[in-house]
Every structure is written in C-alpha cells, then in structure tokens.
Subunit: 279 residues, 2 copies
Amino acid sequence: MKKIETVKEFDGWLSRYVHTSEYCHCEMTFSIYLPPQAETQAVPVLYWLSGLTCTDDNFRVKAGAQRYAAKHGIALVIPDTSPRGDDVSDVPDRYNLGKGAGFYIDAIQPPWNKNYKMYSYITKELPKLIEKNFLVNAQKSISGHSMGGHGALICALKNPKMYQSVSAFSPVCHPSECAWGKEVFQKYLGNDKSEWAEYDTYHLIEKMTHAIPVLIEQGTNDEFLDEQLMTKELQYLCKKNKYPLDLRMRVGYDHSYHFIATFIGDHIRYHSDILKSTN
Amino acid sequence: MKKIETVKEFDGWLSRYVHTSEYCHCEMTFSIYLPPQAETQAVPVLYWLSGLTCTDDNFRVKAGAQRYAAKHGIALVIPDTSPRGDDVSDVPDRYNLGKGAGFYIDAIQPPWNKNYKMYSYITKELPKLIEKNFLVNAQKSISGHSMGGHGALICALKNPKMYQSVSAFSPVCHPSECAWGKEVFQKYLGNDKSEWAEYDTYHLIEKMTHAIPVLIEQGTNDEFLDEQLMTKELQYLCKKNKYPLDLRMRVGYDHSYHFIATFIGDHIRYHSDILKSTN
C-alpha cells in the first residue's frame, strides 16, 4: 500500500492510497479521511460507495462530508467504483458497463470474472486493509449514491452483522428490473436470474428474516427515479412486508451531488449515533 | 440573460446564466445561489472570484459554501474568470495568461483590450445585472481565492464604499512582483508600472488614506506562498503602516479547495455579521 497524496482538511487528513488487490487482480485506488480524533484514538469508519462513472475523487471533492466526519470523529473510506488498468476489460463507449461500473458485485462470466470482484473487495479485502493500517476500530457503517447506494444496501443486507448501519442516496433499488442493471447483470452474471437476485436490494429484502433498518434519501426531481432506481417498487414491498424502511422523499431535489451535499450531514449524524451507541 | 441550469441545494436554488457582456464583448457565464430566504425578501450578495484555470463551476461544486449561504440568508454570485469564446484572444498553453486568467483587471494593450475588461465587468456590469434581475438588495461583500483573492482585494480597495466587507483565501498579494503577475500585467497593461500599481493590493494599501479592514486566510503549506502570493511582504507593509489586516496563517493547509472548504464557513459568517450590522 502506497500513499500518493495527502491534504489537510477540517483539521484532519484526506489521503489517497494505491494497493494491489488480491480480489480484483489490479492496482486499486482509495481515499481515506481521518478526522482529527484519529490522531489519539481508534475511530469508526463510514464506507462510501460512489455511482456510475465516478472514482474516489467525486465524493471527497463534492459532498462536503469531511466537515461532518471531523465533527463526529468518523473516518471516511472512499473506494473506486471498479477495477482499473490497461489489462481490465471495458466497453469504453458504455458508462454503465466495465470501468466505472463495477456495480459492487462479483462477476462470474468471462471476461469480467477476471477482475470485477468489487463485492468481495468492498466487504472482505478493503476493511481488512483499513483496519490493519489506520487507527480505526472494527465499527463500520456504509452508504453510497446511485449505483453506490445499491452497493451499500446489498453489502449491508448480505452482511447484517458486519455493518452497524446503512443508508443510501438515490439508490438503484431493483437492478434486475431496470435497464442499467439488466444489461450489466447479464454480462457479469449470465442468464440465471437467481444469481442476479443475490445482488438486488428488492429481492434481498424480500427474503430477509432478520430485518436491519434501511435509510434512503431520494429527490423527487431525480431524472432516473422511475426507470432506473425503482424506489416505488421497493417502498411498496417494504410496506407490504412491514420492513423498516425510512424513505425520505425530498421535493425538488435531483440526482446530483448538490442533493448529496444538502443531506450528507443528516446521514453522518445518523451513522454516528448508531456507531456510538453500539461501541 | 438566459438561465441554462438550475438545481435545488440546501432548500435554495443554484442556477447558471449566460448573458452578453457590454464590457467584455462576448457571452459571459455566471452562477448564482439564492438561499431560501430570497423567496420572500431581498438578501445581500457575496461575490466570489475564482482562481487561475477556474470557471464558475469550481467554487459551486467544491467549496461547500451554499450550506452557509442558506444558513445566513446570503446570495452567492460566482462569475467566470475571464472572457470566453472563439473570438477571444488566448495563449492555450499558458494557464496564467488569456482564458481562465483575466486577473480582474481592465486590459489596455492589444489584442487583450478588446475583451479583457474583467475589472469593469465585476465592479460595474455584474452587480447592476444581479440587482436588476434577482431579489437581492444593494448590500454586497466580496471574496475569492488566489488570483480571485487578488481580484476581491483590488475591487474592494479601489471601491471602499461599494463593498461592505472583503476577504481572501491565498490571494496573490503583490502581482507586480511575482512571476504570474508580472507576465500578465506586462501583456495586458504594457510596460508602465504605474498602471500595474492600480491593480496591486500591496501598492493600493500603500496609498490608502481611509483603511478598510482586510481578512486573509492563508495555509502555511501552500506551494505558491513565497514566490507567487508574497503574503509576507503585504504583512510587513500592513504592520509598518498600522493597516488593519487580519491575516490567519493556518498550519499545514495547502492551496486547494479543501483549504477553502475548511474555512469558508468562517468567512461567510464574517461577511454576514457585517452585512447585517450595516443593513
């Protein structure tokens, strides 16, 4: 693991590292913000998963999250959205497939199965690396935006004891049934829809026996709301199954980082309250 | 004037407009954030001038200022950093000359004097346009970063009654004597150094008879501090002349937007306190 950049912000340090991933078989980049509290004590971690086309850079620059991380004494870990490098399969003219579109799943179909193991990278490799190398404790929460909101939800729903809390901004709620998800799931996972259901929030919630609370922030003017995110379908399912979903529909907000910036403070406080109460 | 984009943020609206500038003789773009208070009452305005290579986009995306503008009920107006368009003179391989490097001065040398009239654009044309078209009052403050910090300081020092307050992040304090400034002043203004002094904070403060307070935020790890910003020279002058300079040296901070994000809340509160007390 090699530090390639570090900058002071809100009295803590925002740094970028590269390391060779054993799951993705390539060099991966992530950013970490260590709040000032991490100089003297182990702090909990909030993992943030970004959306289509993003790298680790978007959230750290646009969301304004470091302010709240510093206030609450939480580290932020911001991974990339896919494997990278010249040897990694890609479809350069498609933004929802290949690089920048790992969808936080473990691909099983060639050629994608060589590198596209983002689910294992996020849930197994990265936390181990972070907990070994930084002054953080094992308490962790997870959040994300759009494709990364989907990622945060599936990681938490599939590992209900691993994360203390989960939230999502504008998540892709039912990828098996939307255009973005259907294409990529077919390519990465093949035609067996039972494989798809393993990475689909709608289907995971459908079969949850021990519910974990889910917080979703969603703008009503989001251009992707009906066709790609399918939030209403998830809302209907949760209502039917009495699943603890806190869906906050925000009138007039869109899909952008300006929406995230507006409500990220609420989410970090939400995670902080739970992380502190379970510590 | 035409609105080309609008997005909701912190319960207010962040919009982008284009208009034909009478001073710059080209189409100019600016962003404006109207806080929720502006729906029912005229609010004061903070003008933000950005640094080399920026457009109106950098500050609105990276600084996290809208949160504080909404809190204090202040509009933000974020102009571009130079004239734009195919007909505007440029030196594409130089980042400190031509497009993206207007330096907030009125050029008098050809070919630059055709479009590069950023000083008049910022101090004369833009406020008139803003006050005519939006629910704002005539109270205004000005701030900026690097080349834009220089811009904010010269605009306020040359118009001490026009702005209620001025502040700057990492400003170019003495452009007549640093490499960035010398090259551009020679091209835009010619060889007569008395013309240069009219747009140089150091020289303007040297001859101020009625002092206006100046707040400067500066990181100690700023890579441009000694050679381009020349903050120490200004500090020495202000000390000698008993000029009211509040220079806040921040240990470990650099020249980036992460530095701005850390302290922009302090600056907006500073301007808000003065704007409210003089209203």
